[in-house]
């Protein structure tokens, strides 16, 4: 039964793909193998087949001579919406595409990477890729969570999950990857926030139906990221021991204080980040200003010693 249905779906797709003109239902029922039974049965079969193919992203176009008469309507699949064009990419481009998707083949996106690679190889044949050694992305993302997030952003499913100890109900607007970690940008009670996917406790659950909310037309992920990243900047003045702190020295200019120390100033956005950087250098890098950073560092050290 299921094999018959699969066969019919393939035959339908092939027929709609091969035709230059719209095929009417009666033409389909008369010519495409697999449609049998009463007109009503065939009608039901066809509606279901069409929906299932559309569900998987196949664009079945409806058209006809007279749009007012449903009987005159026909169906077709345009090759350009279904297939890649064999001349779309040059050989060198196919090699770069292979490199681009191969980056992900060990990551949480490996299923998408694999599927894309199959298509590339269906255009190119086996690619000589041993001339280049490609890095791969290693991550610790949960691919199930990531896949659900991708799908929810695309199909606009609302989401429910546990995050930092509380239950969240959000409308997902977008996703971004930064420094190897994925973040979900979503509307939670009229505030747009970023959620780090790895911090989601347990399962990321879709709630309700597809297209369950409208994303405001003015929302643009790239703009959101630019604004949230260009948050307030402050200046820290540091004291760096001579011949030490090379990583900092390679990024920021210094002026000499005395035989033992140089001075350096740098911009920072988040206290936590700059404190971590400074403490990494131990006794070789000290904060001069602002006072808030100095006292914060002293407090942290005391806690560490007494802890």
């Amino acid at each position: 039964m299921s094999a018959q249905k699969t066969e019919r779906l393939i035959n339908l797709t092939l027929a709609l793909l091969a035709t230059k003109k719209y095929l009417t239902k009666s033409e389909i029922f008369n010519t495409v193998a697999g449609y049998t039974g009463s007109p009503e049965t065939m009608e039901r079969m066809f509606e279901r087949d069409k929906d299932e193919l559309r569900e998987l992203g196949i664009e079945i176009e409806v058209g006809g001579l007279d749009p007012l008469f449903e009987d005159d309507q026909g169906y077709l699949i345009r090759s350009e919406t279904f297939q890649l064009d064999s001349n779309q990419f040059e050989n060198e481009e196919l090699l770069y595409l292979t490199m681009a998707v191969n980056l992900w083949h060990d990551s949480a996106l490996q299923a998408n990477s694999k599927a894309a690679l199959l298509k590339i190889q269906s255009l190119s044949g086996p690619i000589e890729s041993n001339s280049v050694n490609l890095p791969v992305i290693r991550d610790a993302e949960n691919s199930k969570t990531l896949t659900t997030a991708f799908e929810s952003v695309e199909k606009r499913f609302a989401l429910n999950f546990q995050y930092k100890g509380s239950e969240r109900n959000v409308q997902p607007y977008g996703l971004y990857i930064q420094d190897g970690f994925w973040y979900l940008v979503a509307n939670e009670a009229d505030a747009i926030k970023s959620f780090k996917l790895q911090r989601i406790d347990g399962r990321l659950k879709k709630v309700g139906k597809e297209s369950s909310f409208t994303k405001p037309a003015e929302f643009d992920l790239a703009t959101f990221l630019t604004i949230s990243r260009s948050a307030k900047k402050e200046i820290a003045v540091l004291r760096v021991r001579k011949n030490q702190g090379h990583a900092l020295r390679s990024k920021y200019a210094v002026t000499e204080i005395d035989d033992e120390w140089d001075q350096m100033s740098l911009e920072y956005g988040f206290d936590q980040e700059i404190i971590q950087t400074i403490l990494w250098y131990g006794s070789n890098v000290l904060v001069e200003r602002p006072e808030k950073l100095r006292s914060d560092i002293k407090l942290r050290l005391k806690e560490l010693i007494n802890g």
């Binding site: 092939l14 091969a18 998987l56 681009a100 490609l134 607007y173 190897g180």
Partner: protein
């Protein structure tokens, strides 16, 4: 999970252009590529063999031949090209190309090609809802390293070690490159100490390619110590970034106790200090004392 008829129909159709471009591919290879069993591939192929265009004479059917477990397509009908990339596949390609562009900054020929290709991909349906924030840091020696790996040649590195905070000369046999937490790393055999080491590529200051060496299997000779740490919730970043060396983990309220296998205690010491007071050393005691001593030394300077 059993595939629906529609999923199976698409997979069966996807097999045709793949086999067409890869004639003589084996059932076993197809099974690996398409992530289904060999029996499933065989039955999918038998199924498409029955399908074709209206008329359904032998001239209108898809013609597949399999012999001795090897498959070729004789007549693909309209299935001579693969299906279009799905939106998620485009995301994977587009983000991948962006990373390739970032790491090829110094290779202007590759860069031009890659940028043109990205624009082409963007036209296939760019997804404005899934993006990469920020850039991968510049990797000036990507080509040289990549060449050295393929040709099994050694590299002379000037490497800026963050742990020692100094530039050291290393002679290494590069093995592979990988991205972790957004940075590119090189794993290589450090020839002088005959042990595998990991180098952060953007800390390589100078890089020269050397002679070819015969590949050899090396015994992992580094001594690893088990370190136990208590990590506060707000320092969870540490756990996320170091998941590859964490061997056990127990959550206990706001604290997470982690066990790590490390070969470099100095690295752990600096990490604990820089996360002060969010991470405490449970064992070994030697490390706990060393951390406290560093904190005292530093505090004395304020």
């Amino acid at each position: 999970m059993v595939d629906t008829a529609a999923v199976r129909a698409l997979r069966s159709m996807d097999l045709i252009p793949y086999v067409l471009q890869n004639p003589g591919v084996s059932i076993a290879q197809l099974s690996a590529r398409f992530s289904v069993t060999q029996a499933q591939i065989e039955s999918d192929l038998q199924l498409v063999f029955m399908c074709g265009l209206p008329g359904y004479t032998p001239y209108e059917l898809i013609d597949v031949a399999f012999e001795d477990g090897v498959v070729s397509v004789i007549d693909p009908q309209v299935l001579d090209k693969p299906r279009k990339f799905s939106s998620n596949e485009i995301v994977v390609i587009a983000l991948g190309l962006k990373m390739l562009i970032d790491i090829n900054q110094t290779n202007s020929t590759a860069l031009t090609k890659l940028k043109q290709l990205s624009e082409k991909i963007a036209k296939l349906g760019s997804n404005k809802s899934i993006l990469m924030a920020g850039d991968v840091s510049r990797v000036p020696f990507f080509e040289i390293i990549s060449k050295a790996i393929s040709e099994q040649r050694v590299l002379n590195l000037q490497y800026h070690s963050l742990i020692k905070d100094q530039i050291t000369e290393r002679l290494v046999l590069p093995e592979k490159l990988y991205f972790l937490n957004g940075s590119l790393y090189l794993s290589a055999l450090d020839i002088d100490i005959d042990s595998d080491r990991v180098f952060k590529v953007d800390l390589i200051k100078e890089c020269r390619i050397g002679e070819r060496v015969a590949p050899k299997k090396v015994l992992e000779s580094s001594f690893e110590t088990t370190v136990i740490l208590d990590v506060q919730k707000q320092n969870r970043n540490f756990i996320e970034r170091n998941s590859s060396v964490i061997t056990a983990m127990q959550e206990n309220g706001d604290l997470t106790r982690v066990h790590l296998q490390v070969s470099n205690l100095e690295w752990i010491k600096l990490t604990v200090l820089s996360n002060a007071p969010g991470i405490t050393v449970v064992s070994p005691e030697l490390l706990a004392n060393a951390v406290k001593q560093s904190a005292r030394d530093l505090l004395a300077l304020y």
